[in-house]
Amino acid sequence: MKFLSIWTPDPKTARLPPSKEYMEEMGKLVEESMKAGTLLATGGLLPVSRGGARVRSSGGKITVIDGPFTESKELIAGFAILQAKSKEEAIEAAKRFHKVAGDGESELRQIMEGPDGDFATR
């Protein structure tokens, strides 16, 4: 099964710009995970103020919000698509990521893969 992980760093401890050591360690982790076949795709997200927006539809009316957003959304964040055999395995991968990434939060969501959403687990 596949999981989407969306990471948001803790604004209290996040360092901008990230240190050289941090970037090196993160690069190493990404390379290792790619090689292990557990990381299928990943990328960093720029702060919303730099080219982001929110499109919202409510009662059929669409509104576009360019900002401002809460502080955490102004930080560099990231996403990853993980390949895992179980939720626990995806959680393990996220734990490893956090050991390098530091404080913050990763939200894991299983990607729907079958007609009824749980094809992979059937």
Partner: protein, 421 residues
Amino acid sequence: MTATETHRTIDAVWRIESARLIAGLTRIVRDVGLAEDLAQDALVAALEQWPESGIPDKPGAWLMATAKHRAFDLLRRDKMLERKHVEVGHELEARQEMAAPDLDAAIDDQVGDDLLRLVFISCHPVLSSEARVALTLRLLGGLTTEEIARAFLVPEPTIAQRIVRGKRTLAEAHVPFEVPRGDELVARLSSVLEVLYLVFNEGYSATAGDDWMRPQLCEEALRLGRILAELVPEEPEVHGLVALMEIQASRSRARVGPSGEPILLLEQDRGRWDQLLIRRGLAALERAGELGGLNGPYALQAAIAACHARAHTGSETDWARIAALYGDLVQLVPSPVVELNRAVAMAMALGPAVGIELVDALTSEPSLKNYHLLPSVRGDLLSKLGRLDEARVEFERAASLTRNERERALLLERAAASAPR
């Protein structure tokens, strides 16, 4: 964390770490069977201790340290029995103290090499094809005997036997724990690719049973293929096979209907194809091309799969190119099954009348005598030609030959649809 949660976490850790653990231990004890036993012992220790102590910060390192400890105990005991001198024990202990940190460093440096050695030993030609599959899934995939048995619809003791015998065969043949070189590397690699291909195919179109697909086997083969591609990045056929598997897997969710029924390629909702996997597949195929390997059997099959992946609708499919690629493939691996596929592509490119001629030429082929896809293809072409009575007979025959229940149901449906109204 509850005990159940801890156990599930241990499962996950095992899955991530076991191959590297077994590979590293095989380097020390030079016996893959013993290495696996030691790794299993460490797992048992974790299952006993972690629910109490909590999960260690570096679970992989914990498992390795525990297993290595036992390995040295065993090695020392063996030496003592051998020489029957207690002093030797002391001496070895002292040597071990000195050697241990170096071993750690060596293991860290050579994780990739060890894994690759483990891949080659699990797919070694002294083993039967079935043993290779079982050992690969067990030692590299970290699957339990029960999981492998379930995936192949074989009783658990049968798989256990295959694994035990396989390990014994390796020990008796004194198969070295090494990466083959030169010409041997290519030959041995093809044995490894064959195992992955077999596992993938069994998952993609299960030969028997109630499910049309067993995605877990596909995922496993794909995961091992991705790892292998990074371990031997210079070998084009590895990228060819990975490309083939990525692209085929991209269609998984479109291949099954709401109640588990198969949906054939041209009827699939292409919007449900996984574009991420297609992109990865096309990139892998490109890598095979950069290495000059577009003419290998896996790369050719991947190129065929890519033709489908690139077509936004069924009618956009470049059937002429697909037929040509099958033509190249049949030169490389002469096989009536490939001929049959070529006939299907020719029929799509030039019409059913051309196709039926090619297919009819294959009906006397002894190896296709019980192959359900021959009457299935023939039935399809006959029904396109309006020869419905003949088509029905062919679909019924195909249904009687398949061992997959889902496929049988589909073929019987087509037979019924071919009945004169």
